[in-house]
Amino acid sequence: MTELPASTEKKLGLVIDLDTCVGCHACVVACKGWNDQGYGVPLSDQDPYGAEPTGTFLNRVHNYEVTPEAGPAQLIHFPKSCLHCDDAPCVTVCPTGASYKRSEDGIVLVNEDACIGCGLCAWACPYGAREMDASAGVMKKCTLCVDRIYNEALPEEDRQPACVRTCPAGARHFGDLSDPNSDVSQLVAERGGMDLMPEQGTKPVNKYLPPRPKDDVPEFDVLSPYLEPVATEPTGFLGWLDRTLDRI
């Protein structure tokens, strides 16, 4: 199983819009909630009300600060979950075959019944997308909500990942990135969607839409016609009022 499929029929994945993500963590908690009772063992928490609360999450939102040469500093909220890589090192290192990539849709999953919890796949993943569950001792990762997207018990409109369904800002998009006509592929093309750590050679399916340029207000000269004065003091203003009202 740990052989990667030569190609997959589809490349299902997420497109995450860094220009739109407000960093609200809704996707983080919706993911936790769904997967706590969904695919595989629950996502356990240790010391939940104590000094060192910690637990398994499949999606986490980082925050980065960018200080451009000119203009004010920027903050970028940066959600990160499994990127369902085409060349997934987490799959090939797995000794048991528990970690696998599906040939039909490209989703990378862990078969928890076969996982020995050695942790090697998490070491092999450059993105920190895998977390060993401290209670069950098996590797957990984003399943792309495989138990939602094909789940016929759910209404059709809900057959999408929990994180996408919940994202209030609409910064997360789900679809088939192998189909150039899909909405997600078009978004990627339009907005210059990018790979994370391309040099690692993992060929991620998930793409990130970069933040649009910020704070590039045109020089005031360009805008100055809009503020061409009609009056600099009240009497002049009154004259302008009079003239203008006559016109209306």
């Binding site: 819009d17 919706a30 009772q37 809009y226 503020l227 009056a231």
Partner: protein
């Protein structure tokens, strides 16, 4: 084994889905609660719901952990140790209710004002106030006074509706969106949904905020303004626009009091008031005839440029006063740039962009409509500039006038209630005159003479006793802060402790963590709650508190009513209260017990129904003294405020009536069947220009928002403010105390003004200190949540780069932060995307040890901290020895964000300071 065969994928199924309303915050989204084996298994957003349309925030999704938090109270409690010890004994409901009745019944009989009933972020204010009113105490309010009353009051006085969650940008049409001082807002999900729409359309988002996180991080342009100076920036933008004649004269003439005539005779007792006819109608000049006519005359051409002499007194339209005031060089970009921390060039660019977008990118919607003067319009003129704002403006001592300035800017651009602009959500708009006035007449054994809170229009409406002293314990509607429309909850404990203006016997609080994050001056507040008089009796003799969880406040009460969680009770999100409507729809909603409590707890509103009956309050018992409503659910269905108008507007009468109709015994089931809410769309021709749109006015009457159409014009010039000024100038019977005259003259100006809102010296306290709401945490109550506390378990103080370098800070360092009032020691972290004079932290992460069901070594209690220790509800004494309250002089809004501090590096600390002994020992 080596084959690529995927194992079977399980497909989770739930047993049942129940739809109710989220209460992880006050946004009140619709939720689908999925149950498995009778237990809550998963919560997701309700797609049909008007507020959240299927999405859910982090808190909402974590509701399941709130519902199972170990901190949940289990039974009524009676204090057995000293106050603050946290030592309690569980008692029966019968004992709890009997105790409360024994305490309260004598008060009602002799002096109802000895009960102070204050509720926090209460969503049942129309019901809790109904209790208080029938009890007869004037001492009732909810949290608005420390939250954002500046925003609400400025909006309603100016334009009959406000930001907060009562209005919304026209997300579908706006091209330029300015967000002033918002980190999260009550309208959490709608704002995020809206921003997503703007981003999708490529509309421009502009953040004006000292801190660039969240919404301001995704903003295309960020103006890192210095706190407290937005008023200056806005008035400077107005200056630029006036100079360039970039204002919407048609709109101003037709829909605002810009053409209304102002009395200009300094000697007149009506100086600065607006000219009216005998019937009290505002007068404007008709350009066609040059004569003054009532503003609503059909076919009138309002003149903005003229002037008029009436009874020997000259009168000029409001707009001329506006021009006079703001064309002054005091408001030139160069004059304000340094104070705002924004360059003159950027201020000009912003003004120019506003002009360009509002006027050059104007558009029309093909929707014909008729205005209140009977004029027909073939189209709806749109101006695609929208603004929104919250506590960054309002939580300053100059917030009321700053919010007024912002509304003035919007209105000058003609962008309120037009396509592309800012829109009201029903039941707004509503002219300020349509709101009740405050009432405070106490009669032993009888109800108060009317609703507690409201809108004053001049000195006559103040809540004063015959001797001129404040009638309310919180001194709301007194000369200190005449227009305190939401009351001043933040003053209650300190006034009750001081017996100023009088003593109370019982303090009854509901869902407000006053012994911690809700209070300024936290340590002192805890001391006041436990302070005793010379006889050893508590200065605040009795405290009753209703909470669902073991908050800090629980330890400071004598009697605890344990509430349920939000999934276990009936609740009513009513149009009589804080509604959940959207600009295109009116809506209300319910909560209902989707699961039954597993503890001896009761929904607080049902407890009040019971208590009201035990006390024999009108409205709670029938003529024979028999309990009128079995519980809150019964009240929700059968109570009528006016004939046919009740807490819930949907499914009335036979089930089809909306807005008005007889009580319907099946109403709650109908709500449940409909997903927990009711919604009716605003007719298409009524969707914009609501204050002036006849179609909207008629529909509003149908929906029972009011009983007859009440179109009005916007108040650029605010007469109520002017009336207080007139009093301060010596006119009229009711006169302010002398020490307040200067303040009232300066700050209750009928046109927006800016003034420095703190007198803390910049050389001593060079930095502004702010808090922001984390999107994934709700005040104190998120920390008991096993999921959310992993996201925000500690809060560093973020320090801007220059200060960081100046003090030689490094990662992991600690600092002491000192204000005029106190000192805290806390961890620091670096942030570049920050105003260079500002430090900040997340709000309410710090916890008292022993509270919230957390271990005493929880990071919230060891490293987390509150800025509240540095803020006082009273400012340090001035030269005359007077201590002024730390609040807006107009509304009494708590000025949380006027805090100024200095910072010094300290060695690494084991814990944040101050350190308080753990609460504990709850039986």
């Amino acid at each position: 084994m080596n084959k690529n065969v995927a194992p079977e994928i399980p497909t989770p199924r739930f047993d049942e889905m129940r739809q109710t309303t989220c209460y992880m915050c006050a946004c009140r989204c619709g939720i689908n609660v999925h149950l498995k084996d009778g237990k809550v298994a998963y919560i997701e957003g309700n797609r049909a719901h008007p507020v959240n349309k299927g999405v859910l925030c982090a808190k909402g999704s974590a509701g399941i952990k709130q519902h199972t938090a170990p901190s949940r109270l289990r039974a009524p409690l009676k204090r057995v140790g000293p106050r603050g010890s946290g030592q309690f004994e569980e008692i029966s409901w019968e004992e709890a209710l009997q105790t409360a009745t024994d305490w309260l019944a004598p008060l009602r009989k002799e002096a109802p004002d000895k009960l102070a009933f204050f509720t926090g972020r209460d969503q049942s204010q129309s019901f809790t106030s109904f209790f208080a009113q029938n009890f007869g105490t004037p001492n009732y309010a909810a949290h608005g006074g420390f939250c954002s009353v500046n925003m609400a009051a400025a909006g309603i006085y100016t334009m009959g509706g406000a930001f907060w969650e009562f209005g919304s940008p026209d997300w579908e049409h706006t091209k330029m969106f300015l967000l002033f001082g918002v980190a999260e807002d009550h309208d959490s999900n709608p704002i995020k949904i809206g921003l997503g729409k703007l981003k999708k359309r490529g509309a421009k988002v502009i953040g004006i905020n000292p801190i660039r996180t969240g919404y301001n991080a995704v903003a295309d342009d960020w103006y890192g303004i210095t706190p407290g100076t937005d008023g200056l920036l806005i008035l400077s933008l107005i200056h630029c626009l006036l100079r360039a004649g970039r204002i919407d004269l048609d709109y101003l003439a037709a829909f605002t009091n810009a053409p209304v005539l102002v009395n200009e005779d300094p000697a007149s007792p009506e100086h600065g008031l607006l000219l009216r006819d005998e019937a009290g109608k505002l007068l404007i000049l008709d350009r066609a005839t040059g004569k003054p006519v009532p503003f609503d005359t059909q076919g009138v051409q309002p003149d903005l440029a003229g002037s008029h002499r009436h009874a020997g007194v000259s009168h000029r339209p409001v707009i001329q006063h506006i021009a006079e005031k703001y064309l002054s060089e005091d408001y030139a970009p160069e004059a304000v740039a340094e104070r705002c921390g924004i360059s003159a060039e950027r201020i000009r660019s912003l003004a120019a962009e506003l002009a360009k977008t509002a006027f050059d990118e104007a558009f029309e919607l093909d929707i014909p409509w008729t205005d209140f003067r009977g004029n027909k319009h073939a189209k709806m003129q749109g101006r695609p500039v929208a603004m929104h704002s919250m506590r960054g403006i309002s939580a300053h001592g100059n917030g009321f006038q700053t919010a007024r300035a912002l509304h003035l800017l919007q209105i000058l651009l003609g962008t309120v209630e037009v396509p592309g602009g800012f829109r009201f959500k029903p039941p707004y708009p509503k002219p300020p005159e349509a709101h009740p006035k405050p009432h405070c007449k106490v009669t032993p054994g009888a109800p108060l003479d009317g609703p507690h809170l409201g809108f004053v229009h001049g000195p006559d409406d103040l809540a004063l006793k015959p001797d001129g002293s404040p009638a309310r314990i919180d001194k709301a509607f007194s000369w200190d802060n005449p227009m305190s429309a939401h009351g001043l909850m933040h003053m209650v404990i300190s006034n009750a402790h001081a017996g100023d203006p009088y003593k109370v016997d019982t303090l009854f609080l509901y869902m407000a963590n006053m012994a911690w994050n809700s209070s300024m001056n936290t340590a002192e507040t805890m001391a006041m709650l436990t302070d005793t008089d010379e006889n050893g009796d508590y200065k605040i003799p009795r405290i009753i508190y209703a909470d669902s969880y073991n908050s800090e406040m629980v330890s400071y009460a004598d009697l605890i009513f344990p509430d349920t969680t939000y999934l276990e009770r009936h609740d009513c999100i009513s149009l009589l209260d804080r509604p959940i409507c959207e600009p295109d729809a009116v809506a209300d909603a319910i909560r209902w017990p989707v699961v039954e409590p597993d503890r001896d707890v009761r929904g607080f509103q049902s407890v009040l129904v019971d208590l009201g009956a035990r006390l024999g309050l009108p409205g709670f018992v029938d003529a024979d003294g028999k309990q009128l409503y079995a519980d809150y659910a019964d009240y929700m269905v059968n109570h009528e405020r006016r004939p046919g108008v009740g807490p819930l507007s949907g499914f009335r009468g036979n089930g089809d009536a909306e807005g008005r109709g007889a009580p319907n015994p099946d109403q709650l089931q109908r709500y449940i069947d409909n997903g927990g809410f009711w919604e009716a769309e605003v007719p298409e021709e009524a969707r914009y220009y609501k204050p002036w749109n006849s179609a909207y006015q008629d529909w509003a009457v149908e929906m029972a928002f009011y009983d007859k159409p009440q179109p009005y014009i916007f108040n650029l010039w605010s007469e109520p403010l002017r009336r207080f000024q007139l009093a301060a100038e010596g006119h009229g019977e009711r006169q302010p105390p002398d020490h307040l005259r200067a303040q009232i003259k300066e700050k209750l100006s009928p046109l927006p003004v800016w003034y420095e809102s703190t007198d803390a010296r910049a050389d001593e306290f060079p930095l502004h200190a702010l808090t922001q709401r984390p999107m994934a945490m709700y005040h104190s109550w998120g920390s008991q949540n096993a999921w959310l506390r992993q996201i925000h378990g500690v809060n560093p103080l973020y320090v801007p780069s220059a200060v960081w370098e100046e003090h030689g800070f490094a990662d992991g360092d600690w600092a002491t932060l000192t204000s005029r009032h106190g000192k805290i020691t806390i961890p620091v972290a670096l942030m570049a995307a920050l105003n260079p004079k500002t430090v900040w932290t997340w709000n309410a992460i710090g916890k008292r040890k022993g509270a919230w069901g957390l271990d005493t070594d929880a990071p919230e209690a060891t490293k987390g901290f509150l800025l509240n220790h540095l803020i006082s509800e009273l400012l340090p004494a001035r030269s005359d020895g007077m201590r002024w309250s730390n609040s807006d002089p107009v509304t009494g809004q708590a000025a949380w964000f006027d805090l100024r501090v200095n910072i010094a590096k300290t060695g690494t600390q084991p814990e944040s300071q101050p350190i308080f002994p753990p609460l504990g020992g709850r039986a």
